[in-house]
């Protein structure tokens, strides 16, 4: 076990659960049943922590993230391309609710719209939770998933309908394959570039089924406010 897991990761995970364990012998671990919810959560957190021992993760203490200085709210915006070429834009507000060095858990409210010629126009609003890992040179990836509301209008002339659109429930997920945090470069800019983010979302109901959509996103994320910082000081 200790060959596979970085000691700091093990310690961190133990600390997260507040368990008073003997780290050398790992006795407490044996008390957990294999399939208890606690052990499942432990496993998930261990996987996340293990990733910090990989080249991407860098040493957590060396990578100071901007939100470490306070509670920050981020904005994001960019190109949203349904099936790549159906053009649109997205905008989001992101709140990192958990930051541990290079690792971040976040929740974001996201809206997007795109235009599929002679097919439909989509408007959405949704919320996603996600995880982000940043390397010491500022390269990062993130994953998120959530749920939202999607409204689609017919994109074209309509004969016998007012075209007020159709409502849909929208499960969503996405992964930033490659991003770059300029705050961790010599430029020290409070901007993050999402070079490529792949997203998938569903449209339900669509003829009583769920219609999957695929999209790409390219955009920027920046610090909107650090009001939490002043709150912390108080």
């Amino acid at each position: 076990m200790r060959q596979l897991i970085h000691p700091s990761a093990y310690a961190w995970a133990m600390n997260e659960f507040g368990a008073e364990m003997n780290m050398k012998r790992g006795k407490e671990l044996r008390r957990h049943t294999m399939f208890s919810s606690r052990s499942v959560l432990f496993g998930v957190l261990m996987v996340i922590r293990i990733s910090s021992t990989l080249p991407l993760g860098a040493e957590a203490t060396e990578v100071a993230t901007s939100q470490d200085a306070g509670i920050a709210i981020y904005w994001g915006a960019g190109y949203f391309g349904d099936l790549v070429t159906h053009p649109g834009i997205y905008a989001l507000l992101k709140y990192p609710f958990l930051s541990r060095g290079a690792h971040q858990g976040f929740v974001q409210i996201k809206s997007f719209s795109y235009y599929h010629f002679q097919n439909h126009v989509a408007l959405s609003l949704g919320v996603e939770v996600g995880y982000k890992a940043t390397g010491k040179r500022g390269y990062f990836f993130d994953v998120s998933m959530g749920v939202g509301y999607l409204h689609t209008f017919l994109a074209g002339y309509t004969i016998n309908t007012a075209n007020t659109g159709r409502p849909s429930c929208m499960p969503s997920m996405g992964i930033t394959v490659l991003g770059w945090d300029l705050a961790k470069t010599k430029l020290a800019l409070p901007l993050q570039i999402h070079f490529l983010r792949l997203s998938a979302f569903g449209q339900y109901p669509f003829n009583r089924l769920i219609l999957p959509h695929l999209a790409v996103e390219i955009g920027l994320t920046g610090t909107l406010t650090t009001f939490g910082k002043s709150l912390q000081r108080e």
Partner: protein, 340 residues
């Protein structure tokens, strides 16, 4: 964001009804796209009902057959509910619901265009639905003629001829020493399996049917349909491959087995007295060519007003495989019955 959406939605929201038209109509939960292309001033319109169930008429908008016709007449392509690029949240489709959709489309066309001669064409499943609609003599009054392209009408009988087609093909392959073991397995499957066209068997049959070129003699159907679309249409047009696939699977899972056990009774086919042109591919393994003669005999149309045109180098999609010949024959038929 909302303003952007509204602005985008307002794009393309005017229509000239000049023969370069694309619009949607809504009926009972389904938003169905319609393309009207060609010479609307001819006042002669051809409505095409696509196959499937679940194919797309819109996806054929750039095929050479329609291009040849558009110079002389207006071609109306329509994606049926739960099919192609149709949207919405349709109730489970039924024959009557689709017939209602067609009736509404016809009234919309008459409302927006000056039409002297209206023709109805259907391919495969679309041919079945067209005949289902035309069984009612009052509906026939709206049309100057009917063009049936390998249209089905008696699926149990179709299955008999499909089985015969596949056994003949497998036998010929074995005799020629081509993949003998594969075709031997196919022969055994067709000899022992009941209901080869039913949903539970369709994927096995489909594999053998593709191998036997039952649908098209060369390439795939998609080569002719989606493959005919311009790059602009494919990348940023109405083309919607995922929706088309989901729609196709959805309607097939709902309707397939009912459809595969359906037949239009001979007495109802006998009610159809419209001038009719039957177009079939000689090598059709989906609705084999003997079905053309049986249909010809069952139709109530006087002999002088019905004809069978068999394409020697086509399978189930003669309008894709031999488009020039099919377009020329359709025009000949339309001209004959537009002037009568």
């Amino acid at each position: 964001m909302l303003l952007l959406g509204i602005a985008l939605c307002s794009l393309n929201c005017t229509l000239e009804f000049d023969g370069d038209d694309y619009f949607f109509f809504e009926h009972k939960g389904a938003d169905m796209p319609v393309s009207v292309q060609g010479n609307v001033s001819s006042r002669t319109f051809l409505i095409f009902m696509h196959g499937g169930p679940g194919d797309s008429g819109i996806m054929t908008q750039d095929i050479p057959c329609w291009s040849a016709l558009k110079q002389d007449i207006a071609v109306v392509l329509w994606d049926q509910r739960n099919s192609g690029f149709s949207q919405g949240n349709s109730a489970p489709p039924t024959y009557d619901l689709i017939a209602e959709d067609l009736e509404l489309l016809i009234s919309i066309l008459h409302e927006h265009y000056a039409i002297d001669h209206l023709f109805l064409a259907g391919h495969s499943w679309g041919g079945f639905m067209a005949k289902y609609y035309l069984r009612d003599p009052t509906q026939q009054d709206q049309f100057a003629g009917f063009i049936d392209i390998a249209g089905s009408y008696d699926l149990p009988l179709t299955e008999t001829y499909v089985r015969e087609f596949m056994l003949d093909y497998a036998g010929a392959q074995i005799a020629a020493g081509q993949d003998a073991s594969y075709w031997q397995e196919a022969m055994e499957w067709y000899a022992t399996t009941e209901g080869i066209l039913l949903w539970e068997n369709i994927f096995t049959h489909g594999e053998y049917a593709i191998a036997s070129h039952a649908a098209v003699l060369e390439g795939t159907v998609e080569d002719y349909t989606a493959g005919s679309l311009s790059p602009g249409t494919r990348l940023n047009g109405s083309y919607s491959p995922i929706a088309s696939m989901i729609n196709g699977l959805g309607i097939a899972s709902l309707l397939w087995n009912d459809y595969m056990q359906s037949s239009l009774p001979a007495d109802q086919l006998g009610q159809i007295a419209l001038p009719t042109l039957l177009i079939w591919g000689r090598h059709d393994g989906v609705v084999p060519v003997p079905m053309a003669q049986i249909l010809h005999d069952r139709l109530g149309t006087p002999d002088v007003d019905k004809d069978i045109y068999v394409l020697e180098h086509s399978a189930h999609y003669p309008f894709l495989e031999e488009p020039d010949l099919v377009a020329a024959r359709i025009l000949q038929f339309i001209n004959a019955y537009s002037n009568s």
